[in-house]
């Protein structure tokens, strides 16, 4: 009898498990990975300072790519801004000072989260206000409908006479 050169295919229950494993691997492979744009050479030695720099970078817009933070972007300007943020933190700037410097250069557009101020009130409070307005409208409409269902209009004199006539005819 000849020995099989390769292990024969496994019986079905095990191959089912293998398929699940393969599927899991596939899902894992398809998971979006964070784009590690921050180069090792940019990182600060002090972990606390580096953590602040990362948090700040996530708040700042890359002006070249527009909808990415400078923490995610591999654009040249994003790199320069990341280095600048770290230099300022190292020099003792507070987070607010770093953001103030960059908004003084690039405007509020550089902030991914727009500040709450009169010209952004519509942006911040518009959607909740619309929701409230819709809720109030809905409440009114529901109340009216329920009121209408609970209290049918009283019969008019004419209707009452007609009803009585019908009842009498039934009895007769």
């Amino acid at each position: 009898m000849r020995a099989a050169p390769f292990p024969s295919p496994r019986p079905s229950p095990a191959s089912g498990r293998g398929r699940i494993l393969a599927l899991l691997c596939l899902i894992l492979a398809l998971l979006p990975l964070p784009a590690l744009a921050v180069l090792p050479s940019e990182r600060l030695a002090d972990p606390a300072l580096e953590a602040r720099a990362r948090a700040l970078s996530r708040e700042l817009r890359c002006l070249v790519c527009r909808n990415e933070s400078i923490d995610d972007s591999s654009a040249d300007l994003a790199h320069d801004l990341r280095v600048l943020v770290r230099e300022r933190l190292k020099a003792g700037d507070s987070d607010a000072q770093v953001l103030a410097y960059l908004t003084s250069r690039y405007g509020d557009f550089v902030l991914l989260r727009p500040p709450v101020q009169p010209d952004t009130w519509l942006l911040w409070f518009g959607p909740p206000a619309l929701l409230c307005l819709g809720g109030v409208g809905l409440a009114f409409a529901l109340r009216r409908r329920r009121g209408a269902a609970a209290e049918p209009a009283p019969l008019s004199a004419e209707e009452r006479q007609r009803l009585e006539r019908l009842m009498r005819e039934e009895e007769a």
């Binding site: 002006l63 801004l81 003084s104 250069r105 690039y106 405007g107 557009f109």
Partner: protein, 176 residues
């Protein structure tokens, strides 16, 4: 009265549609400068190949155009002939800042195409550019005699940009 209430969503739609129509007009790639009417940032940059550099003090006293350029920047070449023409006319002081570039490359570019600038500062690290709020080259800033930034041109200056925006502004500021 209740009929009018049914028109409310239509009216609301019209308002929102109008708002979006206005919002979608214009070029979204153009960002307003945060430094309009503010003093130009302070800087002092070395020159190109031993020539004198450029500092903020050099701009003082007259209306100046500060043009950020680079040898690796293709759109810069499209505005270059216009810059050369301005230099020939000599009515406005044109200064260059070489952005994140190798000085030898910049020197080669200017040797090939001509050098329209009165002075050039070399900004290898791009820090002066960040101070100005530059987010791409070319960008051109109009700095008035008091040293304030009055206008920012994003991208190459086309003939139309020059006629419609820059020239009227420069005339208003008394440059030409």
């Amino acid at each position: 009265m209740r009929r009018l209430l049914f028109l409310l969503p239509v009216a609301l739609f019209a308002v929102i549609a109008g708002y979006f129509t206005l919002g979608l007009r214009g070029d979204p790639s153009l960002l307003p400068s945060a430094l309009i009417d503010k003093p130009a940032p302070d800087f002092a940059l070395p020159g190109l190949g031993g020539k004198p550099g450029l500092a903020r003090a050099d701009l003082a006293g007259r209306v100046a155009l500060v043009n950020f350029f680079a040898s690796w920047c293709a759109p810069c070449r499209t505005e270059h002939p216009l810059l050369m023409r301005l230099a020939e006319e000599g009515k406005v002081a044109l200064y260059g800042i070489d952005y994140k570039d190798k000085p030898e490359d910049a020197a080669r570019l200017l040797a090939q195409l001509g050098d329209p600038y009165r002075r050039i500062g070399v900004d290898r690290e791009g820090r002066t550019a960040i101070d100005f709020g530059v987010y791409g080259v070319p960008e051109t800033y109009v700095v008035d005699a008091a040293g304030r930034i009055r206008y920012r041109q994003v991208g190459p200056i086309s003939a139309a940009d020059w006629e419609r925006k820059l020239l009227p502004l420069l005339q208003k500021l008394g440059a030409s």
